[in-house]
């Protein structure tokens, strides 16, 4: 059994840290893990995607159409963009944050409406939360990625919440450990 998770968002939103936490938690649990990242050109405010796969033995580091069990998204439009990568009935955990892409800023396109409904219609299960708002409440907007990881952790029953928190602490600087712990727990419990 392999679990395939896509972490998507806009360049600069912190998807690398999220993938690090997930990779770490899975490795500490004894799984084989592969994580594939994007660096360079595409990072500059573009659509970015990180693949995390874990299980008994993982070969490919990437996920393509119909290969993802989960999508964790930092931004609503990006969640919609990658929905077609999900297996039918796959789960999306997304922040409701909206960031206008350049075509919208330049006035040649509109930010689409009713995205959550569209994702559901296309066959996905959607769990949406305002991760930015919760992160601010936890102490810093930068912890939105950890809020989402907290929420996502609810779906991965085989990794306990203590194991998740250990992974979070192993991946962030010690001085931010408390903040991120709080962000993680608030994400997990948010309604």
């Amino acid at each position: 059994m392999i679990t395939s998770v896509m972490i998507v968002g806009v360049g600069g939103q912190g998807s690398l840290l999220a993938s690090k936490v997930l990779g770490r938690a899975a490795m500490d649990k004894g799984y084989d893990v592969k994580v594939s990242e994007v660096h360079g050109m595409s990072q500059r405010g573009g659509s970015v995607v990180t693949y995390v796969r874990f299980g008994d033995k993982v070969y490919s580091p990437i996920i393509d159409r119909g290969g993802a069990d989960y999508i964790i998204s930092f931004e609503l439009l990006e969640a919609a963009r990658y929905t077609e990568f999900l297996k039918p009935g796959g789960q999306i955990v997304t922040s409701t944050q909206q960031i206008d892409p350049m075509p919208v800023i330049a006035g040649t396109a509109k930010y689409p409406e009713e995205l959550i409904e569209k994702m559901t219609t296309s066959g996905a299960k959607v769990d949406a939360l305002d991760a930015l708002d919760i992160a601010n409440e936890a102490g810093s907007s930068k912890a939105a990625n950890i809020v989402l990881m907290g929420r996502f952790a609810n779906y991965i029953k085989e990794i306990s919440s203590d194991e998740w928190l250990n992974a979070v602490e192993a991946c962030v600087p010690a001085k931010f450990a408390q903040l991120n712990r709080k962000a993680f727990e608030m994400g997990a419990q948010a309604r």
Binding site: G12, V38, R44, G45, S60, T83, P88, D100, M102, A109
Partner: protein
């Protein structure tokens, strides 16, 4: 110890364990982290060289001096370093030398999709190709043993998906190597025709020995499948994709040494299965080799020549059923990369776009000046081409062109290969206008230092080249510096230098807004009562400004307070958080 490790970091770990002492590279996605990670080991001297040719020659100098050495570059960087490459193949090494080259199938961050294996064949240098992080570590170490055993530099070839994927590795300890004695040996190291003629047969004989090595080395391995109807010959990530689809069912000849290729091993493998399929990204190199051996293989008749592969590309082209998926959501706007909020390049490109200049572009973050809404750049080829091609453009079209065409090039790219183009302008004289976009860092690859920043790879004080003095010393009399956050000054400089009757250089200077030492100014905001909805500020394409409910709006989390937008507003609608008008 087990660790989840990026492919490039695993290479750096391999360098450490192999006892490498000197590394010299030029940053290039997806190769950059190899040298950055190596720099975290105190045992390895690491530097950014001005370009890949210098890096390779530096690494070679260290090898000749007796220390194991390393240089890294992306595929197009190898073009720059091709000159030394072909001749150090003849001289061979003293201590081991490894050249890392990282290809970018799919062009995640590159201007072409060239296949570096051609260089290994052409220069007659062995090439190892890992398929995950553990192999990246192991093959890097093996490269040094091979280098010393066969007296040759050795390539380690990465691709984006190996370089930028993390997988679990088992690390080992460092083995120190004594400095090898340096002995003057003109017959080996002075490549004048008489000596080179004697070295070339040695290279050919070395390749024959390497072919023998390829037949038996554990770098190449056969994985016997449960079904002999199809067998794959493959390497790199293609191996992982095949395993993903077929598991232990199909037989696989997995090649870790991809130059030179074995003969008997391939023939025997082909004889053991009913059908042979070669799976390799980009060019049909293994496939051509198989056909030359008279083996009937399938390859590019089935698999694409372009783009990177994946497990579904393997499945589809082998006519296996497609995985079901959620339905695509149609009509979503794209999200192309864009210059960041507060990017100093934006004011300059706005000026060029507004003045309808022709712009010869170059390689860096500022290539994003080609994207809408500014669409300011006419051309992009390779490092340094902006300046040299501007000279040619102006020679061809004369005054008409000199008065409205410019070259734009970053500080790091100028040091890499812009200087020689400027020398040509100074020497052969066109009234060309060259704009150096000095953001005080190598931006696109993720903030590497360069010879103009005054800091070295580790961030310690280093030599600093003065761009103004350099351009003047080359014979350019008109050298001026502008702040691209000041639009009036920028437009004045561009207009004046375009009509000047001699070559000129404008240095558009402002550090990258993402640099840690650059202090973010408070975000400004739009007063909706003063905003007349004219959209002038939107023409710059700043990601922090959007148009909501008929008015411009600033996203305070993105705005860095550069105030360039405010200079475009005729109505004074931009103001500080305290309500003071910003002009």
């Amino acid at each position: 110890m087990k660790e989840l490790m990026l492919g490039n970091k695993a290479v750096a770990r391999g360098l450490f364990e192999a006892g490498v002492c000197v590394a010299s590279s030029y940053p290039g996605t997806p190769s950059t982290e190899t040298t950055e990670e190596a720099a975290k080991f105190n045992e390895i001297y690491c530097e950014w060289a001005p370009n890949e040719k210098v890096a390779m020659e530096t690494a070679f100098g260290a090898s000749r001096a007796g220390r194991r050495s390393f240089c890294a570059m992306k595929h197009v960087g190898l073009n720059v370093a091709a000159d030394p490459l072909f001749t150090i193949s003849y001289t061979g090494v003293n201590a081991g030398m490894c050249i890392l080259v990282a290809d970018d199938p799919g062009m995640h961050s590159s201007q072409n999709e060239q296949d570096s294996r051609h260089y290994a064949i052409a220069a007659k240098i062995p090439m190892l190709e890992p398929s995950d992080s553990q192999e990246a570590l192991d093959f890097t170490k093996r490269a040094y043993d091979l280098s010393e055993e066969f007296d040759t530099p050795v390539f380690v070839k990465m691709c984006t998906r190996v370089a930028h994927s993390q997988s679990i590795v088992e690390t080992g300890d460092r083995t120190e190597h004594e400095m090898k004695p340096y002995v003057k040996d003109a017959a080996k190291y002075v490549m004048v025709p008489a000596n080179a003629k004697k070295r070339h047969p040695i290279v050919e004989e070395r390749t024959e020995r390497l072919v023998q090595f390829a037949e038996t080395t554990d770098l190449n391995r056969v994985e016997k499948g449960t079904d002999d109807s199809v067998g794959f010959i493959t390497s790199s990530t293609s191996y992982q994709y095949i395993k993903e689809v077929y598991g232990d069912k199909a037989s696989i000849l997995k090649l870790g040494l991809i130059n030179p290729l074995p003969v008997k091993l391939i023939k025997d493998f082909a004889a053991s299965v009913r059908k042979v399929v070669v799976v390799e990204e980009l060019d049909p190199i293994i496939e051509t080799h198989c056909r030359a051996l008279g083996i009937n293989v399938s390859g590019k008749d089935v698999f694409p020549m372009t783009d990177e592969y994946s497990q579904s590309i393997i499945a589809e082209n082998m006519e296996l059923p497609k995985a079901p998926s959620c339905k695509p959501i149609e009509g979503l706007p794209g999200r192309p990369p864009a210059m960041c909020a507060g990017c100093p390049h934006r004011g300059l490109f706005y000026t060029l776009s507004k003045n309808k200049c022709r712009v010869m572009g170059d390689i860096g973050c500022y290539t994003l000046g080609a994207t809408p809404p500014l669409s300011a750049i006419d051309t992009t080829e390779c490092m340094g081409a902006s300046i040299s091609s501007l000279h040619g453009f102006n020679k061809a079209r004369g005054e008409e062109s000199e008065k409205n065409t410019v070259a734009v090039i970053g500080d790091s790219t100028f040091m890499h290969s812009g200087m020689t183009g400027l020398a040509n302008i100074a020497y052969n004289q066109t009234n060309s206008t060259v704009i150096i976009l000095d953001n005080s860092i190598t931006g696109m690859t993720g903030h590497q230092q360069n010879p103009t920043t005054g800091l070295n790879l580790r961030g310690d004080p280093a030599g600093k080249i003065d761009l103004e003095a350099l351009c003047r010393a080359m014979g350019i009399n008109r050298v001026r510096v502008v702040d691209p956050y000041n639009l009036d000054a920028t437009v004045k400089a561009v207009r004046e230098e375009l009509v000047a009757s001699e070559p000129s250089v404008i240095i558009s200077r402002r550090p990258c807004a993402l640099l840690k030492y650059v202090k973010r100014q408070p975000a400004i905001r739009v007063n909706p009562d003063k905003c007349k909805s004219c959209r002038s500020c939107m023409k710059m394409g700043c990601p922090a400004i959007s148009f909501k409910d008929g008015k411009a709006q600033i996203d305070a989390t993105q705005c860095v307070g550069c105030k360039v937008c405010a200079q475009l507003c005729k109505f004074g609608a931009f103001e500080t958080q305290e309500g003071d008008t910003v002009k």
